[in-house]
């Protein structure tokens, strides 16, 4: 993962300092703005790869900040952090121009995974490729063909979308909620780890008999597809 330049706009000192430290430990460069106005100014000037915006900020609230930036044609990918977790709060956040929405309290691994997924969209427009390849696994987005080596793998439509999303974010951690949101398009809490079951089904189809699997479980975070040989 290349280094990201992250601007954190968060008024809670402790939370801000924790995020700053955590992102820097991950090798990213992070700045902190303690209120909405300063955050807005820095987001306009600085060349950031990603903005992390708390929804409730002094001087200028998070949603107004984002919609003002979008009006000024600042299209930096933005993740909203919020204590408001109702379904319509999320919709409002995304409508204001946010690209992703995370409800407090959250796990840092979840935030990191989402931020990396957002930044990837900016750094490498992988979304436009039609052929994804990880090791000897190939997925053709146009013909919906999936092959391991020269053997074709038959996938159910949902399994195909699951694999497609994982391969689009190859080398990145993808969390269970990200999968539920992006593959199934739901944001609710499924109680049981339903995603795990779907992953293990997929794994049985693409990693069967492989010495080093492609689909890895990242403890306490989620899943990642990568070529184990590299």
């Amino acid at each position: 993962m290349t280094t990201m330049r992250i601007l954190i706009i968060e008024d809670d000192k402790e939370a801000g300092a924790y995020l700053l430290k955590a992102f820097r430990e991950q090798g990213h460069s992070a700045d902190l703005a303690p209120d909405g106005l300063e955050g807005y100014a820095r987001a306009r000037e600085g060349a950031y790869d990603i903005l992390i915006v708390d929804r409730m900020l002094p001087k200028l609230d998070g949603l107004s900040l984002i919609s003002s930036l979008r009006e000024q044609k600042v299209e930096t990918p933005t993740l909203i952090l919020s204590a408001l977790g109702q379904v319509d709060d999320r919709v409002k956040g995304l409508r204001a121009g946010g690209d992703d929405y995370l409800v407090k309290p959250y796990a840092f691994t979840e935030l990191l995974a989402r931020v990396e997924a957002l930044a990837r969209r900016r750094l490498g427009p992988r979304g436009e490729e039609t052929l994804y390849r990880v090791g000897d696994l190939e997925l053709d987005r146009l013909s919906h063909n999936v092959t391991v080596g020269d053997k074709e793998v038959v996938l159910q439509p949902r399994e195909f979308r699951l694999l497609e999303y994982l391969m689009k974010h190859a080398g990145q951690v993808v969390t269970r909620t990200m999968l539920l949101e992006n593959v199934w398009d739901y944001h609710f809490d499924p109680q049981t780890n339903v995603i795990d079951v779907h992953i293990s089904r997929l794994r049985s189809k693409i990693d069967k008999g492989r010495a080093t699997p492609l689909l890895h479980t990242i403890r306490g975070a989620g899943y990642m597809i990568r070529d184990g040989a590299r």
Binding site: V87, A107, F188, D189, Q191, T192, V194, V197
Partner: protein
């Protein structure tokens, strides 16, 4: 004095004052109008008589000169009737007549005048009369008139009647207005006093209803219904916060114990790491419980948990079945579905998915344990309602426990050994209520069938006073 001032400011008093004014104007117009008409008619008749008399006397004068008039007037004077005659010379000297004098004798000719006259031998009293002056050839003045003392009496009677009726009108109107205003004020004061007592904390008191069925009663009844609704919401709120406090205490204690274990002396780094991992898991459980409780509380308070829009229920059901089908397969059970196409309703997609997910999850956990378990999901339209049922072949829930199973944190004995927060069904039921629908548990003989019954269209506002359903 302030009481009086308050009385004057009441609506009832203002109304009665306005009516009093209106009636007075009406009475003046009506009585005055009738009086005026009567007088005009009488005056008109008198004028005509006078004209006829003058005409006749002029003819007599033409026939026989002053002598004839003299005779005629003398004859007339003797006959009663209130007519007055006076003939004078041009200079004003009386020649013949039944009156002594009248100022009308020197007035303009040919005009009917309201004037006075004096009788001979009684020079001090003026009598009212209508009269008309004519010049006779030869320079004589002829005044013919009629006494109108009777008319004046009539006029006075009319005026007095008007005054008297105005007086009574004023008296009765004011007293009535004061009485009505006073009674009104008393009742409004009662209402205000009750309202103040309620505000001061006597929340069970209600506003007095007199039983008269008038607008004040209607107002009091509606306010009472509002108070009842507020009371209900407040009880619900305090119940919810009590429950939240109670129910979060257990997992919080567990969390705390684990954290303490991690910091205890002599713990190896591995033990600490494991304890911290458990702490994170516990806190995630807590967050999950907290979110579910919050959603239940919101649903019970009747707040929409998000924007409602038209949602394709058949797709949601199919998605949930597809999502959990893998889980069923893994535990050796089967999840089957029968979904009527084209099912739509006004609702919230995420919440409905959450509710259905919870129920399916429950059915798989408790109703399809062991191999060859089967859970059937069916969705169909039934009139103006959608029915989604999730049926299993498990141990089921005895009828006496069905109501209780939908409550928060209730875990029936049969499921106590299995993991779960006890919130799944309570949340599903709350979401159903939020969609103005219901969730019921039925006997699947054997097994349990959970049925969502949801209206296709939401009624915009709950009727006042209606119980939350």
């Amino acid at each position: 004095m302030t009481a009086l001032a308050r009385l004057f400011r009441t609506t009832a008093f203002k109304l009665s004052a306005a009516y009093f004014l209106l009636f007075s104007v009406g009475a003046v117009l009506a009585l005055g109008g009738v009086g005026g008409r009567v007088e005009a008619v009488l005056d008109d008749q008198i004028g005509q008589n006078i004209d006829a008399e003058i005409h006749r006397l002029e003819e007599l004068y033409g026939e026989g000169g002053l002598g004839q008039i003299f005779l005629s007037v003398q004859r007339r004077v003797r006959s009663p009737g209130g007519s007055i005659f006076l003939v004078t010379t041009y200079a004003g000297q009386n020649i013949v007549g039944n009156i002594a004098s009248s100022p009308a004798i020197s007035a303009e000719e040919g005009v009917l005048l309201e004037t006075t006259y004096r009788l001979p031998g009684d020079n001090d009293r003026d009598h009212p009369a209508l009269a008309r002056l004519t010049y006779l050839p030869g320079g004589f003045r002829l005044l013919v008139g009629h006494d109108v003392a009777d008319h004046r009496v009539l006029r006075q009677i009319l005026h007095r009647g008007l005054g008297a009726s105005l007086f009574w009108l004023a008296l009765i109107g004011t007293l009535g207005g004061l009485l009505v205003a006073h009674r009104m004020l008393e009742r409004v004061d009662d209402l205000s006093a009750s309202a103040r007592r309620i505000m001061a904390g006597r929340l069970d008191e209600r506003l007095p209803v007199s039983g008269a069925g008038d607008e004040l009663d209607r107002l009091a009844e509606n306010l009472n219904a509002m108070l009842a609704r507020i009371g209900q919401l407040m009880r619900g709120l305090s119940e919810v916060s009590d429950n939240i406090a109670h129910d979060l205490r257990t997992p919080l204690t567990r969390l705390r114990n684990r954290a303490e274990a991690a910091t205890r002396d002599g713990a190896t780094p591995e033990e600490q790491r494991a304890a911290l991992g458990a702490v994170i898991e516990d806190s995630e459980d807590l967050i999950r419980i907290f979110n579910a409780l919050l959603m239940i509380a919101r649903a019970e308070a009747g707040q929409a948990g998000g924007a409602m829009s038209t949602v394709e229920v058949d797709e949601i059901v199919a998605d949930i079945v597809e999502l959990y089908e893998a889980v069923a397969e893994e535990q050796g059970a089967r999840l089957t579905s029968s979904i009527e196409p084209g099912l739509e309703m006004s609702g919230n997609r995420e919440l409905l998915a959450q509710a259905l997910g919870n129920v399916v999850d429950n059915a798989l956990k408790y109703g399809a344990a062991g191999s060859d378990g089967e859970v059937g999901v069916a969705a169909r339209r039934n009139g103006d309602r959608l029915e989604i049922s999730v049926a299993d072949r498990g141990p089921g829930v005895p009828p006496e426990d069905r109501e209780r199973a939908l409550e928060r944190f209730v875990r029936l004995d049969s499921s106590r050994s299995l993991p779960g927060s006890g919130l799944g069904l309570a949340l599903a039921a709350a979401i159903a209520r939020l969609h103005q629908g219901s969730l019921r548990l039925e006997d699947n003989a054997p097994g349990l069938r959970v049925v969502f019954s949801l209206p296709v269209t939401r009624t915009p506002v709950a009727a006042p006073g209606s119980d939350r359903t």
